[in-house]
Symmetry: C2
Subunit: 225 residues, 2 copies
DNA sequence: CTCCTTATCCATACGTTGTACGATTATGTA
DNA sequence: TACATAATCGTACAACGTATGGATAAGGAG
């Protein structure tokens, strides 16, 4: 078959267009810009101006692309470690905030990232040092450190998942929640009804940042038991 | 076009084969048995012995099927409320355990369920009463109750996500973690290295049940500050 | 240098997916 | 009886992941 203009074989030295890294970076761009559903092998190839099948030389299949993206996100995590200059609880909070911030930078990937068990377990090894150090300084036993770190990570994951599932930065739970609660036969959930009404519409505007800080404080207080 | 045996028009009264409920129940069965990827509109239709396009009369598209499944899972949640017969913290823990158990009954759906913001916000209204009651009995202010409940839910979600991402009931983090940590240049993560080594291989066998209890206790201790 | 293996990219094609469109047949109301 | 509406089916299409195999050049071996 005649080739009309484009060479189709191996590129000349120094002009390789593809590599695992280049492909994953492009994929991350697509996902960040247009969401996870926009990431198809054809779309990815088009972005790179390459034939779809060329991608398969560098990555075995689409699942590998997604796993690679999870890896990328975690690799981008940089947990600042103030060392022993601040109290252990502040050290812990700073690490937790940085972790959440890292996940927040790619909201369209949160689901993929958080559900990739091997990526999650990888990151434990390479970035959890500040967590372990702070908990060690708090005087916990090894087993307690291990479990406390897991628990904190789980909270951050759950929080990030909720945060990513919601489009806007501040999601108005309030009107919804108020409306729904008031639609309930009051005796079905008396305490919930009372609490929500006491809070009123104003008090229910939900802000993720303060929600995160509140959870963090509760959790740290639990460690300090 | 001639119809060979099968009638193709509207079924006679009393023999409707489909309904939203019937479809969703069948879909849940497929997902539970064979995983979320096995759920296709054709497969679903085949299970119901129906033409794929018939499904679209009851549900607008596949996304609606998935959302419906999240709804089903939450609807199946039954949080037992021991009332004031037990201390508030025990009441809270029982509710949390039941919530986790509910999510665990459909591990293949965990991701879908937890990332469906509207389903999550729905469930808050209908099943969170025990959480609110326990926290109210603990003496918290309305705003604190609201935030504490959110935090606990986030923890359970994060925990369940991790649990669902892993196939087996007890996932051996240990060998992996030990191996990985030991492969690290020790100075990169000195505390992590030390803690993991002190724990040793035995101490690292991870059990989800005790991990959950540990997190729950930490969190409750935080509330009791 | 030549020969050969291997790396990189491309063209074609297949099976599967979600679902748009329109036909077909029964129901319920006028 | 006539007709709008509800429920199902048949056909068809575009887009998807990727298997297979061919083209071209790189890089090492002789």
């Amino acid at each position: 078959m005649i080739n009309d203009g484009k060479r189709s074989g191996r590129p000349r030295a120094g002009e390789e267009r593809l590599s695992r890294e280049v492909i994953l970076t492009a994929a991350l761009g697509i996902v960040d810009d247009e969401g996870i559903d926009a990431l198809t092998m054809r779309r990815l190839a088009a972005t790179l101006q390459v034939n779809p099948m060329s991608l398969y030389h560098h990555l075995p299949n689409k699942a590998a692309v997604l796993a690679g993206l999870a890896e990328l996100v975690f690799a981008g995590l940089e947990l600042p470690d103030p060392g022993d200059a601040v109290p252990w609880d502040e050290q812990l909070k700073q690490a937790a905030r940085a972790y959440r911030d890292g996940l927040r930078q790619h909201p369209n990937l949160a689901l993929q990232v958080l559900s990739d068990a091997s990526a999650v377990s990888d990151v434990v090894v390479v970035t959890m040092e500040p967590f372990y150090r702070a908990l060690d300084r708090a005087g916990l036993a090894p087993r307690e450190i291990f479990e406390a770190a897991n628990t904190l990570i789980d909270f951050i994951h759950g929080f990030s998942l909720g945060e990513a599932s919601v489009r806007a930065e501040t999601f108005e739970l309030a009107p919804d929640l108020l409306t729904r609660v008031r639609a309930l036969p009051a005796h079905k959930a008396p305490t919930l009804t009372r609490i929500v009404n006491e809070l009123g519409a104003d008090g229910l505007a939900y802000d993720f940042d303060s929600g995160f800080e509140s959870g963090l404080s509760t959790w740290v207080a639990g460690i300090r038991r």
